[in-house]
């Protein structure tokens, strides 16, 4: 019996010839990540409770200051300090200070730290993002991270794999975000609970790495353990000159067993949004167009990489944010911010009347730089909109792609980008 990519990675990492869904394995970890909310507890658990004096391999751990940093209050400053001191004491090679990194899930791929064939864990649920680069990547807790940092290994249950086949290619204005929201709307927020989502099909071959990362980023929004894609020419080009280590891509065997196969006609997928208060409460744009907005947020590990900012900027160029609405643009990394500066995108956002922030998770998780008040309505390019995610539990959050967000910032209500600019924006 053949194996899926996910099974092959877990088999290799646990030193077995074969694994199948349901097997519990103790697997070697290739790379681990923690941030300013998860390193303080993980570091304390590892050192004080587990009694480990050092991390198993300081070259295979990343520590990123992103969630509540730059420190939003005194308590966050304390967490930032603990995170900084842990990285220093442990000699962590991949430490990303405020102003030098950004959101972990953008930083790790752009620095070539998460690679094909690898087993990657991160103490953050969106660690599944990395799977677009043909690795097994999953979110873990702080005690898990302490275990990994102490031993370089962790227990896993081998997941069943769900295969998603996307035929044809996405239409104009329709992006990776729309496709993954459409999938989550179809299978539900627990539709892939604890399983692997393997994305395949022609539509992916036309998508760049950033659009693919958006799709694997939201695997957790369907409850999945990981999202994964094959290695192809697009992956190879992205990793060329970027990969921090040699790597070995994996592919699924032709006779691999899938629990279920879902087929979609990508061409038929509309611009898709998630309505309050769940990522699976999806609607085509026509159903929600005209919804009044208080805030538009373009940010997060889901949709604030350079191609996202380009799309938003092309729409906002020469136009103004609607009166009574505030637009907040948060680049997902410092490198993205530098590139946006070079391309003149920041000036476009500022001239349009938008607020430009430093790279941080910020408003996505109701942290800072755009927290919502009671009853406020926000259109956000982020990943989840459960009650209270971005602030008050009675705030209403819609999720969309960046072009829709930019167009809606101009009109003050949810708007199809074609109603603002005539031609689809190419990046």
């Amino acid at each position: 019996m053949g194996m899926t990519m996910t099974e092959k990675i877990l088999a290799r990492a646990s030193d077995r010839n074969q694994v199948r869904p349901g097997d519990l394995v103790l697997a070697k970890v290739d790379f681990a990540m923690g941030h300013d909310l998860t390193i303080p507890p993980a570091g304390r658990i590892m050192r004080e409770q587990m009694g480990a004096e050092s991390v198993w391999d300081p070259e295979r751990v990343a520590v990123v200051q992103d969630h509540f940093q730059p420190a939003k209050d005194v308590a966050s400053a304390a967490l930032g300090r603990m995170t900084r001191e842990f990285a220093r004491d442990m000699g962590i090679k991949w430490y990303f200070e405020v102003g030098q990194g950004g959101i972990c899930h953008t930083v790790l791929p752009e620095r070539g730290l998460v690679l094909p064939g690898e087993l990657v864990v991160g103490a953050d649920s969106h660690s599944c993002t990395y799977g677009a680069l043909n690795n097994f990547a999953t979110g873990i807790g702080s005690t898990d991270l302490a275990c990994v940092m102490a031993l370089g290994e962790l227990w896993f249950r081998v997941p069943e794999t769900l295969k998603f086949v996307y035929h044809n290619r996405l239409g104009d204005w329709v992006e990776g975000k729309d496709l993954i929201l459409h999938v989550i709307g179809t299978i539900g927020v627990d539709g892939a609970r604890s399983k692997a989502m393997e994305h395949t099909g022609e539509a992916l071959t036309h998508m760049d790495i950033e659009a693919r990362l958006t799709m694997t980023n939201m695997a957790i929004e369907a409850g999945a353990k990981n999202g994964i894609m094959a290695h192809d020419a697009v992956t190879e080009e992205y990793l060329h000159g970027r990969a921090a280590r040699p790597y070995s891509p994996v592919s699924s065997d032709p006779d691999a067993a899938y629990e279920r196969v879902f087929e979609f006609d990508a061409e038929a997928v509309p611009i898709t949004l998630a309505k309050p208060m769940s990522p699976d409460n999806t609607a085509a744009i026509d159903e929600v167009a005209g919804t009044r907005l208080d805030q538009v947020f373009i940010g997060s590990c889901t949709n604030s990489r350079i191609t996202d900012l380009r799309k938003a900027a092309r729409i906002l160029d020469g136009r103004q944010v609607a009166p009574g609405l505030r637009l907040i643009v948060t680049p997902s990394s410092h490198e993205v911010a530098k590139q946006a500066e070079r391309e003149g995108l920041i000036g476009i956002f500022l001239e349009a009347g938008g607020a430009w922030t430093t790279a941080t998770c910020g408003a996505c998780l109701g942290g800072h730089q755009g927290v919502l008040g009671e009853g406020e309505v926000c259109l956000s390019t982020t990943n989840r909109n459960f009650p209270g995610r971005m602030g008050d539990p009675k705030a209403l959050v819609y999720l969309s792609n960046p072009a829709v967000a930019a167009a809606s910032a101009i009109t003050g209500e949810i708007t199809h980008p074609k109603d603002v600019v005539r031609e689809p924006v190419a990046v």
């Binding site: 519990l24 998860t38 303080p40 304390r44 807790g141 898990d144 275990c147 109701g366 539990p393």
Partner: protein
């Protein structure tokens, strides 16, 4: 740390897909290292759940939730906040995977029983036998059987979670000079298969 094997308390009911932002809103992550403080804000993000929920909890009370409980973020402070509020264990139709593994790793008891999640009502008097996986509802006179955990997870919960497991591994490493390969003997071994329970 070991957990009492028979727990008694009143039921507190929650619905399907309760995510970690509802269990403990992200703003309280600044209290990551303070279980009592986290407990004071547990379930504060559930719409309609007025603040101060945790003050109504008598130590030992039991949470009963629907499907996919604890979905969303990876924050380990979710089970810690529930424990900090005084809840002795969580019964659900099903758990989201990171909440599930965080609880196991913490040695915090959780039970999966669709029948119990469906039938139990708020305020019912419950008794949970963790060894047997049996849930008794004294109010309704019902008995439910939770899905059994694989041996590895049961052992982890019994020994107090992943911390003592890692401590033992590190001690072995120090005495032998290297990390012993995973095989039966000095530690709870991994079983071949896990049916039902999801991580």
């Amino acid at each position: 740390m070991t957990t009492a094997t028979v727990l008694r308390g009143r039921a507190w009911k929650f619905g399907d897909n309760v995510d970690t932002d509802q269990v403990i809103p992200a703003k309280y992550a600044i209290y990551s290292l303070d279980e009592k403080k986290l407990g004071e804000h547990a379930m504060e993000g559930v719409p309609g759940n007025d603040g101060g929920w945790s003050q109504k909890i008598a130590p030992g009370d039991i949470m009963v939730a629907g499907s996919n409980f604890g979905c969303g973020s990876s924050r380990e402070i979710a089970p810690i906040a529930i424990r900090g509020a005084g809840i002795s264990c969580v019964i659900a139709d099903s758990f989201a995977r990171i909440f599930f593994r965080n609880s196991i790793n913490l040695g915090y008891p959780i039970l999966q029983s669709p029948q119990a999640a469906e039938t139990i009502e708020e305020g019912d008097e419950l008794e949970v036998d963790l060894e047997e996986g049996v849930i008794r509802n004294f109010t309704k006179g019902d008995v439910y059987q939770a899905e059994p955990f694989p041996q590895f997870m049961t052992n982890l919960m019994r020994m107090g979670g992943l911390v003592p497991w890692v401590r033992k591994r590190l001690e072995d490493q120090r005495s032998t000079g290297h990390l012993t390969s995973p095989h039966p003997g000095s530690r709870p071994d991994l079983p071949d298969r896990v049916e039902g329970q999801r991580e």
